[in-house]
Symmetry: C2
Amino acid sequence: MKRLHEKMEQDGRVLSEHVLKVDSFLNHQIDPQLMKEIGEEFARLFEGAGITKIVTLESSGIAPSVMTGLVLGVPVVFARKRQSLTMTDDLLTADVYSFTKETTNRIAVAQSFLSEDDTVLIIDDFLANGQAALGLMDIVKQAGSKIAGIGIVIEKSFQDGRALLEREGVRVESLARIESLHDGKIQFKVEVHQ
Amino acid sequence: MKRLHEKMEQDGRVLSEHVLKVDSFLNHQIDPQLMKEIGEEFARLFEGAGITKIVTLESSGIAPSVMTGLVLGVPVVFARKRQSLTMTDDLLTADVYSFTKETTNRIAVAQSFLSEDDTVLIIDDFLANGQAALGLMDIVKQAGSKIAGIGIVIEKSFQDGRALLEREGVRVESLARIESLHDGKIQFKVEVHQ
């Protein structure tokens, strides 16, 4: 997605060969207009897939998901990283290991918001090791819902997340794919969806 | 806001005299179309206030804020409840006490996203004791930004949050004001903005 690539080049900051900081438009400060365009692009890519619900993870997945949900006309459910006091319902949970933080987080979705009749689009801001996406897939499967695919805003293609997800037989669409972050520069992978 | 009132009556669940659960359209599952209308309403209320930035708190403040930011054409910054690994910048922080959880949480915004030139609209999903809003105000003041006002989706008018905020001289606009939650029913306060 051209606008996203441009934004990443202009405002992203390469902190190391593994870390691209995009907190000026995606992770901490959010560019609503860009989110709208991202939502339109995900909606276009998954048009006709019969999606009835979007599932994402708090917090950075919420903005692109809500914009996608607006275009597709479907609700968004965000998995919580910590159980809130009023989450008294039956929960579907999965444990997600973070390689960067070296911790395991339990993520949770109330059972009542997913059913066997749902066809789910999973959306997340980043795909690196794929652990968060696998956790979301796990939850969606527990609910008996179908998974139409996974929409990723930024994929670090030099990590093994995509391979792990594709091994599960799921369709993965990433709006930007990073081949490498050598010498402080973003090298994009050749894009199919531009 | 009429549509919000209707949604609360239809899908909100009164768990006690103090707790209204709205996780089917605001706090866990999100209704994107309703968020769009909420964004339009906040934008209408604060039109002409010269807003340059919206500040909110993860996670439930993000969806209404991004929709408001889209209409006003300004970025959204969400304060984080836990510091992320890549938040290496100078941080503005405030401590927020939660009466329900009886814990204090430090919330943080990177200094680089707020300046003396900014006029900020603070948005949050709920106003109860006002502690989160006061924490956000504290952060915005530390940055030297002006505060145009506070936009609240649902106010529990039987708690003292609004009084605390108004004592600070700040404009508070709530799209729904709950007078009471007696007998499992939502009693709304008389609305100015319907």
